[in-house]
């Protein structure tokens, strides 16, 4: 019997990204006593190397795509797309953390290993073919993020953030689990493809399945910070260390959207007409609440938190479209969103200073005169967030609203586009302050751009332009991936 469970080498290869990350994370912990105080930067270098190696491993795994471990995992184009996405976010998260950890004199080893574990969890989530595996990945990712949110344990804001994130996060996971258990009760399995087959049988109890879908929607809604489950996001993002906020706003969200798509498109596709109105409402609420609340914010992190709620709304529009194009649009948008958000947060980290003193929007004053390059890069990200053509944000938005119109969600598309005009107002304020105000105290105490942060700014900016001007290859990758989850 044992022989049946021993994984084959191909299966291990399909699982290699997670293996690389976990091994690297453990390695960092072992190296901690040796180099922890002597060379804090070493741990960052190792984790960048691990992320890059894991990206390579994902590509290799995709070459031998298929299932692994008795059908618990499914490595396909969809999974690979998201794996590469969260791993790339991981690289940028590390790059933007060097300066921050140094400034706050924080321990680096645990920080980087937690980051590696969190991304390992996300890689597992996106490649899972089983609700239990999804749950495992989600928990690995979440628990590491809870700790990261409170990483500076003497900082009160960090503690508040971690506690809120933990309490609400576990509460939401409860909903998800409840949904999973109902599905298991109805179908007798937790495998996504088997559930699909079981639900396809005529006479399957649709009402109970709908309840399960609704419960899972609540749980996932929390994870992606979609309205009306968004209340935690601004507090948590504001309180957490800035690089962690950047990470939380992108990687866990991308992974959560991946399983959102996989579960709802694969399993609940048949009862789509039942959940589409819920998503429709949630999308509209997220866009509207996110954008209108962002209008009044004075703290940059809080503003970006509300903006990320609005962006979750745009992504839900794509899910509401219930089509392959919609799935591909959501996938593409997640990549564009990750790049522009990482970049914007990198600027926040740069200007924040020790103890994150400078977090007001007005602290950007005069950046255009003092550091034109940084200001220009932030301009790229802001224009992408607004959705100006030739940036990834625009093409992503265009693609999402195209999928909505193809699915005849005309009003949702129109309301969404009008929302993006509202959003222009608060994003523009960043540009106004940066270029049209005279330099203030924050600009005067600004240090030159550090190399790590510089990379975390320049590379996403290049990526934003690539996605905006030559989106072809990423788009076809996403389209192929989207076609696989049916």
């Amino acid at each position: 019997m044992l022989g049946n469970f021993a994984p084959s080498s191909v299966e291990l290869l399909r699982f290699s990204p997670e293996l690389v990350l976990t091994a690297a994370g453990s390695l960092l912990m072992m190296l901690d006593p040796l180099f922890g105080k002597k060379s804090p930067k070493l741990f960052g270098h190792i984790s960048v190397a691990a992320f890059l190696l894991a990206i390579f491993a994902s590509v290799q795994a995709n070459a031998v795509s298929g299932r692994a471990f008795s059908n618990l995992l499914i490595v396909d184009g969809f999974a690979t797309y998201f794996r590469i996405l969260v791993l790339t976010i991981g690289v940028f998260a590390v790059l933007s953390s060097y300066l921050y950890l140094d400034r706050e004199a924080a321990d680096t080893p645990e920080y980087h290993s937690l980051l590696l574990f969190s991304v390992a969890g996300q890689c597992l989530m996106v490649a899972a073919n089983d609700l239990i595996m999804i749950f495992l990945g989600l928990e690995i990712s979440s628990i590491a993020s809870y700790v990261l949110a409170g990483y500076l344990r003497n900082d009160r804001r960090n503690n508040e953030s971690a506690l809120k994130y933990f309490l609400l996060g576990s509460f939401a996971t409860g909903f998800l689990l409840y949904g999973v258990s109902i599905i298991y009760g109805v179908t007798g399995t937790t495998k996504l493809d088997e559930i699909r087959t079981a639900l396809a049988v005529p006479g399957a109890s649709t009402a109970v399945v709908a309840v399960a879908a609704a419960l899972m929607l609540v749980g996932l809604g929390f994870k992606v910070s979609a309205a009306p489950f968004q209340v935690w996001a601004p507090d948590v993002y504001q309180g957490a260390p800035a690089p962690v906020s950047a990470f939380m706003a992108t990687a866990p969200k991308a992974a959560a959207f991946a399983i959102f798509l996989r579960i709802f498109v694969t399993d609940f596709g048949k009862i789509g007409s039942a959940w589409e109105p819920l998503i429709w409402i949630s999308a509209l609420l997220s866009m509207t609440i996110g954008n209108f609340a962002a209008l009044t914010q004075t703290n940059i992190k809080r503003m970006l938190a509300y903006s990320s709620i609005a962006h979750a709304g745009y992504l839900l529009v794509a899910i509401a479209a219930r089509s392959e194009i919609g799935t591909a649009a959501a996938m593409f948008y997640l990549a564009a969103y990750a790049l522009m958000n990482i970049g914007a947060f990198a600027v926040v980290i740069h200007i924040a200073g020790k103890g994150e003193r400078h977090l007001q929007i007005t602290d950007l004053a005069g950046l255009g005169q003092r550091q034109p390059l940084t200001a220009a890069l932030l301009t790229v990200f802001v224009l992408s967030l607004i959705g100006v053509p030739l940036t990834g944000g625009f093409f992503g938005k265009f693609y999402i609203f195209r999928s909505a119109l193809e699915s005849h969600l005309v009003w949702l598309a129109v309301l969404g586009l009008l929302n993006s005009a509202v959003a222009a107002y608060y994003y523009l304020r960043l540009l106004v302050v940066m270029y049209m105000y005279e330099p203030g105290e924050a600009a005067d105490s600004l240090e030159p751009l550090s190399p790590g942060l510089g990379l975390a700014l320049v590379l996403p900016a290049i990526g934003t332009f690539v996605l905006g001007i030559l989106p072809g290859s990423v788009l076809s990758f996403a389209t192929v991936g989207a076609a696989l989850i049916k």
Binding site: F398, V414, V432, G472, T479
Partner: protein, 517 residues
């Protein structure tokens, strides 16, 4: 790569080169920007000499796949409608660069880079033949202008520039929705393809859908024009913008709106355009009269010229929605005229501002005695602007009024008030600024034109006379393009005109004059 691609590429290249220049090389950056814009202008003259009038379809076409799926093409080309608007853009950019030589003294590199980016966007808007590409250029124009006003403008620049951006943005997102909707029907962004599908009935839009699509495009263009009552961003933007920004804004950017109406609204949605023409024309006439009346009471020269733009652009919209050949020809000619004469007004007002640092009319007086040449050029421009025969605006306004009279005589009567009023406010301003007692500060600050300023102003004045005396240089190609557009609207109008719609239109117009011709 043909000439048109070059005209689009040169400013873009100039923008990139200016960006990587070291900040300290200020004079070199100025020369560089001027060089790039002059080369673009010279190359664009090649478009004029190579343009074959009478040849059907687009010329200087360049058509490449930009993004494979969904298929988005870099498809550009020009007809008689785009030709002169492109020349207008390339002609005014070097002037805008030259006039800023002394005016702009800080963040020089960004300033010239943005002017070149603006030129790139403008030329692209007038050349794009793919709706996605058109939208891209349309939005690209927004960004440099936003910064030009916001960084180098006057006191209330931030309010003005944000207002400008948001107004345009609201209009353009709805246009984007309409563009994507058309794509879902036609499965292409190629404008020619969409037109032929609409014409052949392969895309059948029901009446309500066509009206909504028309309105989505119309709103975006009407905000840009700007049509009364959407014009309130314009005076703010103009007053606060630096001179170069005002010139580019008034002369070329506003034409994006009227160009869009002629290029897209009329041919794609002829039925809806005709049905909605009555109230649009009424708004245009209100704009003509109200703009002129408001201009009359302005204490600020730039604001006065800005409101006069609202009035003049009302003529353009009136001409477009008269659906007559003369009216449309006049409208397009008036777009060019307004670009030249209002551009010149902003330029000369800018010269005054550089001397005296005030835009208030009351701070001036007797300028003619200390700066006679400046006064003469200003006078010619003023006379052109009020439509004196032999100068350019006369031709355009006359044609528009003729077209309006053909469509509905009362339209012409009301619109003609605008011509009379424009004489009042312009001449009154001229009198207060240039004649009368010599103000003390004027005596100390105001000097006559420098050679550089001559170089900026003279080409514009020469064109005013040329366009007024010999419109044959410009009008035939415009007429040709307009005839095609009108042919399309009348044909499609007949084809789609079912009794139900006809009855509706008839009652709305009060006799159906629009269709009577």
């Amino acid at each position: 790569m043909n000439l048109l691609d070059l005209v689009i590429a040169i400013p873009a290249l100039g923008f990139l080169v200016a960006l990587i220049m070291p900040r300290a090389m200020e004079n070199f950056i100025r020369l560089l920007a001027l060089g790039f814009s002059l080369v673009a202008f010279v190359v664009s003259l090649g478009l004029v000499s190579g343009f074959q009038n009478g040849q059907a379809g687009l010329q200087f076409v360049s058509n490449w796949i930009w993004i494979a799926n969904p298929e988005i093409r870099y498809h550009v080309g020009i007809d008689g409608l785009s030709l002169w608007l492109i020349i207008l853009s390339t002609f005014l950019t070097p002037i805008a660069i030259l006039l800023s030589w002394k005016y702009v003294q800080h963040r020089i590199k960004e300033f010239y880079a943005f002017l070149l980016l603006l030129e790139f966007g403008l030329v692209g808007v007038f050349a794009a033949w793919d709706l996605f590409l058109f939208y891209t250029f349309w939005e690209v124009v927004l960004v440099p202008m936003y910064f030009l006003i916001g960084i180098w403008g006057h006191e209330r620049r931030i309010y003005a520039t944000v207002k400008f951006f948001l107004y345009t943005m609201v209009g353009s997102v709805l246009m984007l929705a309409a563009i994507i909707f058309l794509y879902t029907q036609a499965h292409t962004f190629d404008y020619g393809e969409i037109l032929s599908q609409l014409g052949s009935g392969r895309i059948a839009l029901d009446h309500g859908t066509e009206t909504l699509l028309f309105l989505a495009f119309f709103l975006a263009f009407a905000i840009k024009v700007p049509l009364f009552p959407l014009h309130t961003w314009l005076p703010d933007a103009h007053v606060e913008a630096p001179t170069a920004g005002s010139v580019m804004l008034a002369s070329v950017m506003l034409k994006m709106g009227t160009y869009g109406l002629v290029r897209f609204c009329l041919p794609m949605f002829p039925t809806a355009a005709k049905e909605n023409a009555p109230w649009i024309v009424i708004l245009a006439i209100i704009g003509i009269v109200v703009g002129a009346l408001v201009a009359m009471v302005q204490p600020n020269m730039k604001k006065l010229v800005a409101y006069s733009s609202v009035s003049h652009l009302g003529f353009v919209v009136l001409g477009i929605f008269s659906f007559t050949q003369v009216g449309l020809d006049g409208a397009v000619y008036q777009m060019l005229n307004h670009g030249i004469s209002t551009g010149a007004l902003f330029l000369l007002v800018g010269f005054l501002y550089e001397r005296q640092h005030s835009l208030e009319i009351k701070d001036y007086g007797g300028v003619a005695t200390v700066a006679p040449w400046l006064s003469i050029l200003f006078l010619i421009t003023t006379l052109a602007s009020i439509g004196l025969p032999t100068l350019n605006n006369f031709v355009g306004e006359f044609l528009v009024l003729q077209g309006a009279a053909q469509a509905n005589f009362s339209w012409a009567v009301f619109a003609a008030f605008g011509v009379i009023l424009s004489a009042c406010y312009m001449l009154w301003m001229y009198q207060r600024v240039f004649f009368g007692a010599l103000a003390h500060s004027v005596k100390h600050h105001v000097t006559d034109l420098s050679p550089r300023e001559w170089a900026c102003a003279v080409p514009l004045v020469v064109l005013m006379v040329w366009m007024g005396m010999y419109s044959q240089t410009f009008l035939p190609v415009v007429s040709e393009a307009n005839a095609r557009i009108l042919e399309r609207t009348s044909k499609a109008g007949l084809m789609k005109m079912n009794p139900h719609i006809a009855a509706n239109t008839g009652s709305a117009v009060g006799g159906g004059n629009v269709h009577a011709r």
